[in-house]
Amino acid sequence: MTAHVKGREWLKGVKVLSVLLSVLIWLSVILERPGEMLLVLPVNLHRMPAGLKLDGAAPAEVEVVVAGPRILLFLLPFHQTRCDIDLAGAQPGLQQVLLKEAEFNLDPEIKVVHVAPATASFVLAAREK
């Protein structure tokens, strides 16, 4: 192989790799831009105190608008994200739980912008012995 041909191949290689590196750098920049996403998450009631039961229906789903770097939002629909309501220490009667970030167990970089409904209301009743 002549030096001329080698030189041309080198130049071609440099061009291809330069484009690849530039695109990757560019992607890593634009994917860090903040974005928003609407998620419909199932509601899960857990740590129900012994002797209590759900009386009637609890909200099955909540709509959540989250914001954060786009790269983290992409995979969010595929994660098993849900709204976990901790019922430890709950008393019988009407429960009104304000749905906050802690209930969704999201990545620390993802913030909850809006939740609908903002409060989950349901009734707990004592189990019959």
Partner: protein, 252 residues
């Protein structure tokens, strides 16, 4: 109005990407050899790994990759210091000065090389350009004389005590003779080349000097710049090549 702003955003992104490609490819082309390709490939791999680590929230991998990427700037500057220096020296060259009348130094050099080549006497002549060669020279005898074909020819005569090394021309003066130059470590250099050529290639890989080599086996002359050897067909073409490569300001 909204779609106009959206289009502006897309155009800005495209401009951003195009400029990034231009900057990276220009920087990459300043670097020489296979190592440049490897470095580009490794950097691409690291940025891709960073993206994957971020995508899948692999915090430890991301931390390691980010640390490597951050320190790679210093690493690259160390690895490619000679290429970067050479690139800046090339950028600093002014094209307008090329038209200035040729100096006597080159005529004397060409005359000396022609005589040495005809007699098959080996010679190694270094012409310093923008980057000083002093720190790469070993041994050597200080001379500080006007460049004349007679002086060059007499230095390289086999019975001269300093005929084995290189003659150095700095600022249009013959400043040193009998200097030993660093040999090239490049494995791609042909095994048929002798020590004189290897020394010339070795020095020009480090600095932007022009080196003229006369082979004592074949009696041919060659010009070596930036680690690349070009055989000289005849003496007028050697003069032309040297006038093209060596600007008058480097001979002052």
């Amino acid at each position: 109005m909204n779609s106009f702003l959206q289009n502006i955003g897309i155009l800005r992104d495209l401009l951003d990407l195009s400029l990034a490609i231009l900057i990276v490819s220009r920087l990459a082309r300043l670097l020489k050899g296979v190592l440049a390709l490897r470095i580009l490939a490794i950097l691409s791999g690291l940025v891709a790994l960073h993206l994957l680590a971020r995508f899948f929230s692999l915090q430890t991998v991301r931390l390691i990759v980010d640390l490597i990427l951050a320190s790679s700037v210093v690493g690259l500057a160390v690895i490619f210091q000679t290429d970067i220096r050479r690139a800046f020296a090339t950028l600093a060259r002014s094209r307008t000065e090329k038209d200035v009348e040729m100096s006597d130094v080159i005529d004397e050099l060409v005359f000396a090389v022609a005589g040495l080549a005809q007699k098959k006497i080996g010679a190694l002549i270094v012409i310093e350009r923008a980057i000083s060669v002093d720190s790469y020279l070993a041994v050597g005898t200080d001379i500080d004389a006007k460049v004349t074909s007679e002086l060059i020819s007499s230095i390289f005569l086999p019975y001269s005590p300093i005929h084995d090394g290189a003659v150095i021309i700095q600022h249009g003066k013959l400043t040193k003779a009998g200097c030993f130059l660093p040999l090239t470590q490049n494995l791609e250099v042909s095994k048929s080349l002798g020590t004189r050529h290897r020394a010339a290639i070795g020095l020009t890989e480090l600095v932007d000097a022009v080196v003229v080599v006369v082979s004592e086996e074949t009696g041919t002359a060659s010009v070596i710049v930036a680690g690349k050897k070009t055989d000289v067909i005849d003496m007028p073409s050697l003069g032309k090549t040297l006038r093209r490569l060596v600007e008058p300001r480097w001979l002052k």
